[in-house]
Symmetry: C2
Subunit: 443 residues, 2 copies
Amino acid sequence: MKKTKIGIGFIGFGTVGQGVWKHLQAQREELETRLGLEISFPRVAVRDLTRERGVSVPAEVLTADPMEVVNDPGVNIVCELMGGTTKAKDYTLAALKLGKVVVSANKALIYKFGREVFEAVKTFGGHYYFEASVAGGIPIIKTLREGLVANRFESIAGIINGTCNYILSRMEAEGKSYEEILHDAKKLGYVEADDRLDLDGWDAFHKAVILAFLAHGKWVSENDALVEGIRNVTLEDMHRARDFGYRIKLLGMIRRNFKTGALSLGVYPALIPLDKTLARVDGVYNAIKLSGDVAGTTILIGRGAGQDATSSAVISDIVDAMIGIRDDAHKFLTPSDIDACYRLGETARMATMDEIRSKFYLRISILDEPGTLVGFYSVLAKHGVSVARVVTYEHPGERRGTITLATYPTSEAVMERVVEELKTLPQILTAPLLLRIYEPTHE
Amino acid sequence: MKKTKIGIGFIGFGTVGQGVWKHLQAQREELETRLGLEISFPRVAVRDLTRERGVSVPAEVLTADPMEVVNDPGVNIVCELMGGTTKAKDYTLAALKLGKVVVSANKALIYKFGREVFEAVKTFGGHYYFEASVAGGIPIIKTLREGLVANRFESIAGIINGTCNYILSRMEAEGKSYEEILHDAKKLGYVEADDRLDLDGWDAFHKAVILAFLAHGKWVSENDALVEGIRNVTLEDMHRARDFGYRIKLLGMIRRNFKTGALSLGVYPALIPLDKTLARVDGVYNAIKLSGDVAGTTILIGRGAGQDATSSAVISDIVDAMIGIRDDAHKFLTPSDIDACYRLGETARMATMDEIRSKFYLRISILDEPGTLVGFYSVLAKHGVSVARVVTYEHPGERRGTITLATYPTSEAVMERVVEELKTLPQILTAPLLLRIYEPTHE
């Protein structure tokens, strides 16, 4: 039997690209025999041809022009690992239009242009794999789409930004401030050049949108989601959370009510009960908890980023892609599969702020004078918010106090009104900090 | 385009079979559209035709003869959910010989006859899927073979018997004896009819063997493995373990040294450090920790058994099988894939007892008299075993004491000699209990 020839090209050859290259070179022979293929690496596009690299690539393979990779007739699989959403999009669509397979870790691109990308897959018969776009070494997309295919997911909760988890974990473990640890994290190269992606929750948001699309068939836009980062979380909040029985993690939260159709998506720092697995996932680790209607709770934990973890995911996609090319049959993201995804979305609608309910954590800084607490609690009472736990403390030598509290379940809408009204009280010194308390339904 | 017709037959229609039936009926239309198939359920073999069932199956579909399912020309996929290893094997091989696909949750069968089953797949072109055989709702086989395909696994550690985990968790939480909780577990139907499968570690052993074969290409026989159950673990041991910083779980442990080729497989109650995720997986939950050379540590947690969790796994296999039939291309367990598995095994050899090293926990009951401790410690010293921590305590009103200790790392061979020699000491009242201490290398 004649062996299928597979050519793998790279667009973008930074840390991840080189990691994939290194591991694939080491595993090529084994993969060739196992899959009955001939694997080659005909073309690699780099930004700077003269740069020293950690892996050795034959000079004739290198090019500075990504379109040479796309157009090379020997390349069937294009690994888009350059990032960004402008040029990367052009190359991705160009490759798909040629019927090629694109393997990508580019969550921002999928968030912005997933619809177009999948449309191009449908129209031109190419294919798109993106396991590495969410949660690095954790095979979450495969698990969601294949391993747990029998399930509908009432909730998906994930720690899906390793940088934030690293910062929060170290703040708590070392008792250091956000600024101090952030400084370290930047030095270690853990923070994206545009630090808003990590720190303001956008990276986690992009990943959550991908999971929500796969699970519920809706592309959630940023206007329909709560997206908050970790900049306002203080050590004080962490200590208070622990007193209350929680730890604070940046959480991506997707909830679906299959009775009402309501879908909600949020990324925010959340208080997670201490005894839950998610509360104990620290450092650069990611974790995703899936609550399925058949399998129940499944939790996956693994490295969220880094050269090797991401390479592992990219390689698993490449292997799937090679098998798909060999058999001329890609398993998922076929046209009928894409249609089925959108069909799922037809029964979904974005939840209103009244429908999104949870317990909340509130921290507020107040002027220390008679009557302040009455004013404060009156606002809560007026909006029907019950308080489960509260700690109020003074700041010696200052004429101010801090109130921290945990509420009973109420809605986002109510809490928004509470916060707005609190801001108008004369004794309130700074805007209140509002965090959500995560309450696992299963487990 | 003409739609592929897929007929799904059942052999064995107990809890799991009915669960699969129920969920597949509910999802049939959606699956048909998504996959572009026509799905039917032509034949179901049950033990007793007259029995009332939780799901309604058309009378003409039912049969008491499993061979009618195997031979029905409308059945492409045979779900073997009857269990056992004698008749189940005959039906499985008969279906494979007809080139059909068998989906199975039968770990004992795979342990005993996996080699034959895979050989039949190679010879007759049928196919075999067995995700549900290990760890119920956790897609561990897919993760091992696909999601983490880029990795070689230095260690795989799993809580893979839900019954034992349930018993140990409840003993500890409620401070009740093994016998008491076992009694409850039996009443709840959590224990296999042949209770040795659960309690003596054989069920976990079968599952570990499957994972070891997939990861390392070797079928490990019971003569080459350490298999110990939970019958000798007492509440006392649990309390002592906690003092030492551990919890006791029944662990399946597969270790491979890629430098020396040494492979070891064991199932035994192990002390797991309290701060590790595995130590916190309780009740009927299963968990598997994979240490890969590319992705690092990945942990999967989920329900290990029960109708729904197992159904979820069976259905994911059925979906894979349907796609494989539709495209005439099954992704894994192709002949070259099976060969590749065995080739992996060529570089593996079973580790010797000298090579298998860990820390150990030892409990021993001694006569309370001068000199006993000297005799005891002399045995340890003679064999070069260093003690990390020890607690010795009296039993008021009795002339006996108990020694519990944790050692520094040493080998199985050494500890075997230590235990043998301890047994010969005149002051030793009962055979020593020896447990292993799990030390994660990664994480």
